[in-house]
């Protein structure tokens, strides 16, 4: 099959699914809509696999397939094509998107079974997949931006899916507008690159940018990448634009799994990896990315400890884990960032779907204080959720271990890294272990606190199947990227497959030295040890000694409250930016528009009216007056002429 045809199938399939379900949105059968949508994504998945196989068959240096559908915008030197690029990086991304996406579609069939607007739901879901594919495959920043805004739109629609609830509609709006702030910066970033390099094609930028390697703050590469990074903080929920993601949990839970954990929110990370040669040319930007990343890790993890809504905990966890990916990018470890993106897609999608199963079982109850002991009722959900928990903890052998360890090690070892980055990262890992164990303990373990009227029940097989597949991936997904130091002691010395696969995409960090194996083992031991201790403490506290927790939080009440209320960042934004802006707008409307400009025009109008009546009074029909005016005029004119 020709590559163009394959690409067309890949992209068109979810689009057609969207249109079919969109036009039959009044139908209520979850099975029919769900099957249409799932099949659409599955076809894309098959196409993605075929692309991947095709790349496999090529020589490593030439692994790239460009499908160009022709020109989109052409104005003088600006020329943008509908070009889509499959290379080792984007081929893996589309596998994740369509693969995990397919599982989540299947899960949704069960989860959304009772919803009236299920066809609309699946239409939006397919629309999202379509845009995500465009984002990932787009060969220029502008095509990428099409998907970038498109996924934001899908996210807006899905967060506000139950729009009769004002809160949910607001959450969607908040997500879109916050993202738009990032998008505006993204636009500026594009303009900087276009003016400096004369192109917006990503491949060409990657080739051109290293020629301007710079150390200043105002250089082209630095400014351009900084603006793109601001765009990334919007989409990928980093400081300071992360505030929309926790609210985004208002959407149906599978949406949280697909969009707000596995795929869309990783777009910012993907962008940086995609353009890694450009970012490497701007060390200052890299530093900013690493710092923002690690701060987000710690900030979000600390909030995660205090939250009681199962989805909110997972949401802050996602923000925090995305922080790790940015940390990795910031220290130049792009492979590690991608690795974590992938493993996180598995285990976080798993846990979100698991939470969906729990919420389903609990009849829409999301407060973990009202759960406990669910292990008994939901054995499969518990078992699969536990795999996700072990993975995110970084338990040796599970997928999250390999990727997180790699990031922590690189943040220490890379010439762009620093010991403090490692320390904060390790602190984040410790906190992660705590809040995730707390979540497990409060939800599944210990005594049941389930209200009497609720009878939890295990979910249907159609929902459990995706959980099982994702659980398996969460366990074994890490074996494609076994770090060198571990591979060295394993039988057969397995290679880091992922690093090999991405070898031609990811630029090596300049000035990186040979790894010190002993040091690497030590750091790994420290972070794993800290996480274990932390998980153990959380387990003891939340399974057996909840009174102790209560009395402790009472003791540090002000601090606890502050964290519980998310450091009041939302209040800060509203109190100091949004509300003043609205008040300002009201005032400029009332004072400048109505009272000032309009008044001025009335005044001008009156003046004209006055002038008119003055002129009218001159035309009094009296011949003598006219003669006088003529005389006066003559005198004035003559005076004027003589004065010159």
């Amino acid at each position: 099959m020709s590559q163009t045809a394959l690409m067309s199938i890949l992209l068109a399939s979810p689009l057609i699914g969207f249109l079919i379900n969109g036009f039959r949105r009044k139908h209520h059968s979850a099975n029919v809509s769900g099957i249409i949508a799932s099949v659409a994504v599955f076809i894309s998945f098959v196409a993605a696999v075929l692309f991947w196989l095709e790349l496999q068959g090529m020589a490593p240096e030439s692994r790239s397939i460009l499908v160009n559908y022709g020109s989109w915008m052409n104005v003088e030197s600006l020329s943008i094509n509908f070009g889509f690029l499959v290379d080792p990086l984007s081929s893996l991304m589309i596998l994740i998107i369509t693969g995990v996406g397919f599982l989540i579609h299947v899960f949704s069939i069960g989860y959304m079974h009772h919803d009236k607007n299920v066809a609309k739901y699946f239409a939006y879901l397919n629309f999202f997949i379509f845009n995500m594919l465009i984002l990932v495959l787009g060969d220029s920043l502008v095509t990428l931006f099409v998907g970038w805004e498109g996924v934001g739109l899908a996210s807006y629609l899905l967060i506000g899916f139950w729009f009769t609830d004002k809160e949910k509609a607001s959450a969607g709006m908040k997500a879109f507008i916050t993202n738009r702030i990032g998008d505006a910066a993204f636009l500026i970033g594009m303009f900087i690159f276009f003016v400096s390099f004369g192109t917006l094609n990503i491949q060409e930028l990657n080739a051109l940018a290293p020629t301007v390697a710079e150390s200043t703050w105002l250089g082209v590469a630095t400014l351009g990448t900084l603006f793109l990074f601001i765009g990334a903080t919007g989409k990928s929920a980093q400081i300071p634009l992360y505030v929309w993601l926790p609210d985004a949990m208002a959407g149906p839970t599978p949406v949280s799994a697909l969009i707000h954990a596995a795929t869309m929110v990783t777009a910012g990370v993907y962008l940086i990896i995609r353009m890694n040669p450009v970012f490497l040319a701007a060390p200052n930007t890299m530093m900013v990315i690493a710092i923002i990343g690690v701060l987000t890790v710690v900030l979000a993890a600390s909030i995660g400890i205090t939250q009681n809504d199962i989805k909110k905990v997972l949401a802050y966890s996602t923000v925090s884990q995305l922080g790790y990916m940015f940390l990795a990018c910031g220290v130049g470890a792009f492979t590690a960032a991608f690795f974590h993106l992938m493993t996180h897609a598995f285990f976080k999608a798993l846990m979100f779907l698991g939470s969906g199963s729990v919420i389903h079982a609990m009849h829409e109850e999301q407060d973990i204080r009202k759960m406990g002991g669910l292990k008994k009722y939901l054995p499969w959900t518990h078992l699969t959720f536990m795999m996700g928990w072990l993975a995110i903890l970084g338990t040796p052998g599970f997928s999250g271990f390999f990727s997180k360890d790699e990031i922590l090690w690189m943040s220490w070892h890379s010439p762009l890294g620093h010991w403090s980055l490692w320390a904060l990262g390790a602190l984040g890992a410790t906190m992660t272990a705590f809040y995730m164990t707390r979540l497990m303990a409060l939800t599944f373990w210990g005594k049941s606190r389930v209200p009497k009227e609720i009878h939890p029940h295990e979910s249907s097989p159609i929902m459990l199947f995706p959980l099982v597949v994702l659980a398996i991936l969460s366990v074994v997904g890490g074996y494609v990227g076994i770090p060198h130091v571990i591979g060295a002691i394993l039988p057969g010395h397995p290679e880091n497959i992922l690093a090999g696969w991405l070898g031609n995409i990811v630029k090596p960090i300049p000035g990186i030295t040979e790894a010190d194996a002993a040091m690497e083992w030590t750091l790994m031991g420290v972070s794993v040890g800290l996480a274990t201790i932390s998980a153990f403490i959380a387990y003891t506290l939340y399974v057996n000694k909840q009174e102790a927790v209560q009395s402790f939080t009472n003791k540090i009440k002000p601090v606890y409250e502050l964290v519980y209320k998310k450091y009041l960042v939302d209040e800060l934004y509203f109190g100091y930016i949004i509300n003043p802006l609205v008040r300002l707008s009201e005032n400029i409307w009332a004072y400048i528009d109505v009272r000032f400009i309009d008044r001025c025009t009335y005044w001008a109008g009156d003046l004209m009216k006055g002038g008119g009546s003055f002129v009218r009074s001159l035309q009094n029909g009296n011949l003598q007056s006219y003669a006088m005016y003529i005389g006066l005029g003559l005198v004035l004119t003559l005076t004027f002429v003589m004065m010159r």
Binding site: M73, E149, F163, T164, R180, S585
Partner: protein, 506 residues
């Protein structure tokens, strides 16, 4: 003869309507007429040569010999799409007025067709006096449309509209006459031919505000700025829009505002190149202020129509900055944004008209939960909203992107401020959308006695062309851009020696 046909066919239509005996046939006839007019407009597609900046379909006859005033119509890449936009919107506007104009139907359609003539005339005229006649003529039917079929404060709004625009026009007339006098001096024969105006070299001294070119530049620019409207001359617009009947608002936003921005491209930039360049900063600054100011004020409007009116101020600001940076992307983007604004804001006013016909209110706070009652209406409104906030693959994105890129090339700071409009635009539109369509049902929506009915066939027929245009222009912009490419390339490269020639003439 095609251009004369295009311009005067509506007058003929108006005459027929005036004389036709049966009253109940007026609407269907007007609709058929407008479709014929649109079809006639399509003829120019065939013969239009996109490879040249020269004037095409030229019609030139001496009108008043003594003053060198000519009847001179011609088309080039700059006016091509605006003419198409004007004829494209007409049948849709007539359909949209089907129910909302229930009194003096005949009079309304006569006014409307005369307005069409006047607007087309001002796009196509290449003689200053002829242009001025059309320009002024367009005011009169609009005055009646708002004044007779408008809302409760219509007299106030029409007066404001009239005085504002007249004030600008008078200055322009003085400038035109002065330029005719200059042609007399330069060529020995007075002429109001625009091509002769282009040949003038008008003295310009940057430091001297009273140098001839600067004065003439401001006389023209002010007249057009009022029409656009450019901040701070915009306050007539919200009142006019709120009081105008739906079709009036659509013509006003869809086409009449573009007469202002179009004339910057046709008159101001090529006639006064040095002054335009020297004083560009004022217009870029006012444009940027307009973008932000319009968006902020739109955000806090309680009336949905006023919100869209202020959003026009914001969108027109984009066009102005695009034009004044004088590069390819800016000008092409500006021209494109003129079409976009015609489509998206035109459609928004029609949509607002549709909901107003059902509820007789435009108070945002009285709505809520409309999406669950009128799902089809919601989808259309949402798509047009996306176009208005420039989501990629809709028409709005192409225009905004090109403009901002062009502006960035000329002035990164201006682009930096203008780009906030991208955020604010999403904010005011989506906030409005949320309050009107989402949440619990508001008093107007929940009213049991008057259940709201979703779109009927007529309304579908009106809205579908808009939606098609939104996506066609968003996905295939090259097909549109190529028509203006040669003209804009010529304008950018020869702005200080702008000498349009007539195709086929040497």
């Amino acid at each position: 003869m095609i251009l004369s046909t295009l311009v005067f066919l509506p007058v003929l239509f108006a005459l027929i309507l005036a004389l036709w005996p049966q009253k109940n046939m007026i609407r269907p006839m007007a609709l058929v007429f407008s479709l014929i007019h649109f079809a006639v407009g399509l003829i120019v597609f065939q013969d239009f040569d996109t490879s040249t900046a020269q004037l095409q379909f030229v019609e030139k006859h001496m009108w008043i010999e003594k003053f060198g005033i000519q009847y001179f119509l011609a088309m080039d890449g700059i006016s091509f799409w605006l003419v198409q936009l004007t004829t494209f919107l007409a049948p849709l506007i007539i359909l949209a007025s089907w129910n909302s104009i229930s009194e003096k139907v005949r009079g309304f359609h006569i006014c409307f067709f005369i307005l069409q003539s006047a607007m087309l005339g001002s796009f196509l005229a290449f003689d200053a006096i002829l242009f001025y006649v059309f320009w002024e003529l367009s005011l009169i039917p609009m005055y009646f449309i708002v004044g007779i079929w408008g809302g409760s404060r219509r007299i106030y709004a029409t007066l404001k509209f009239f005085i504002y625009t007249m004030a600008g026009s008078v200055l322009m007339l003085v400038a035109i006459i002065y330029m005719m006098y200059l042609t007399q001096q330069a060529f020995g024969q007075m002429s109001s031919n625009l091509l002769d105006f282009y040949k003038l070299s008008i003295p310009f001294i940057g430091s001297d505000f009273f140098s001839m070119q600067t004065l003439l530049f401001f006389a023209f620019a002010l007249a057009f700025a009022i029409k656009v409207p450019l901040f701070p001359l915009h306050t007539w617009l919200p009142d006019a829009h709120v009081e105008a009947p739906t079709p009036g608002s659509v013509v006003l936003a869809g086409v009449m505002l573009k007469m202002g921005t179009f004339c910057y491209m046709r008159w101001v930039l090529p006639l006064f190149p040095e002054a335009s360049e020297y004083w560009a900063w004022i217009f870029i600054m006012l444009g940027v202020i307009g973008i932000i100011y319009g968006a902020l004020v739109a955000m806090v409007q309680p009336d949905i129509k006023k919100l869209v009116a202020y959003s026009s101020v914001s969108h027109m600001g984009y066009i102005i900055i695009g034009l004044f940076v004088m590069n390819h992307q800016g000008l092409q983007g500006g021209l494109y944004q003129m079409l976009n604004h015609g489509i998206s804001t035109g459609a928004l006013f029609i949509l607002i008209g549709m909901i107003y016909e059902r509820t007789h209110s435009r108070e945002i706070s009285q709505y809520g939960g409309l999406a669950s009652v009128l799902p089809n209406f919601t989808i259309f409104f949402f798509i047009i909203t996306l176009s208005s906030i420039a989501v990629p693959l809709t028409n709005g994105f192409v225009g905004e992107f090109l403009i901002l890129l062009g502006v960035y090339k000329a002035s990164p700071w201006a682009a930096g401020f203008a780009v906030t409009g991208v955020v604010l635009g999403a904010a005011y539109m989506l906030w409005m959308f949320k309050r009107v369509f989402y949440g619990e049902k508001g008093p107007l929506v929940a009213d049991e006695k008057h259940p709201l009915i979703d779109l009927n066939v007529r309304e579908f027929v009106i809205l579908v062309p808009f939606v098609i245009m939104v996506f066609v222009m968003g996905i295939f912009p090259n097909h549109f851009l190529k028509y203006s490419e040669a003209s804009i390339d010529y304008l950018v490269k020869n702005k200080s020696s702008y000498q349009l020639t007539i195709k086929g003439e040497q």
